[in-house]
């Protein structure tokens, strides 16, 4: 699986407006609605599902990265969004650091595990070259897409 297989280019936000975790999740879910991949009337419920998951434990994994994720019946296929925040958002991350690079993952209810493939690819991408450091610094959507494409190419597993 590649990043570009699930992260919608239309749902990449170079500079998030949100200053809080709930606002950040709502803004990123709205980017998926705006991309035409989620019904508008499902957005609120999807954000609620993401917040419920956060109550189990923050998906802020440290290093300025968060991977909010949830399954939801209104989601038809594995979907992802990416958002960047220059100042960072307080996300109750494990290391206490504000979150600057956010990978949001949604998948259909009743399906086991597609998000785990997505999480594995996010980690491979972030470990490749200086992808993570560059993602934390850039608000430029074109550069973000280029970083994703390059990371996908570098992490492609042998057939």
């Amino acid at each position: 699986m590649r990043l570009v297989d699930f992260i919608l280019e239309e749902s990449i936000t170079g500079e998030l407006r949100a200053k809080t975790k709930p606002d950040l999740l709502a803004e990123m879910v709205q980017s998926i609605v705006d991309a035409g991949c989620l019904e508008p009337d499902a957005a609120e419920s999807v954000v609620a599902a993401l917040l419920t998951r956060e109550e189990i434990g923050s998906t802020g994994i440290g290093h300025g990265v968060a991977i909010p994720h949830a399954k939801h019946p209104a989601v038809r296929r594995l979907l992802g969004a990416y958002g960047h925040s220059s100042p960072g958002v307080n996300y109750d991350a494990r290391d206490g650091q504000p979150v600057k690079a956010v990978f949001l993952i949604l998948w259909p209810d009743g399906v086991i595990g597609p998000h785990l493939e997505a999480i594995a690819q996010v980690s491979r991408a972030l470990k490749s070259a200086d992808t993570l450091e560059r993602l934390k610094l850039t608000s430029d959507k074109k550069e973000i897409v280029e970083l994703f494409t390059a990371a996908d190419r570098e992490t492609k597993e042998p057939a």
Partner: protein, 89 residues
């Protein structure tokens, strides 16, 4: 140098979700010994969340290997944690 290893069996439906991975890394960094988590052909430094996340898509038994003075304690603690936390999410 003491090497201790243990295999942690995981059913195929029991995926390695993000929360147990985070708890595992938080537990691992408390030990001085080197800790390697492996599954299939993939090996990960159990003290690095990005490393451990790469195992998320793998299936089959998890293996944990510790190398160092406090290896027995690390194996015992982390095996117990994984058995407790897997399958909860």
């Amino acid at each position: 140098m003491t090497t201790h290893s243990a295999e942690i069996p995981v059913n195929i439906e029991e995926n390695l979700h993000l929360r147990p991975m985070q708890l595992l890394v938080e537990a691992a960094v408390r030990f001085q010994c080197d800790l390697i988590l492996s599954r299939g052909q993939k090996r990960a430094d159990a003290k690095s969340i990005l490393d451990v996340m790469m195992l998320a898509a793998e299936q089959g038994p998890l293996q944990l290997q510790a190398n160092g003075a406090d290896a027995p304690q690390a194996i015992e603690a982390m095996t117990a944690l994984l058995h407790k936390e897997l399958n909860r999410e």
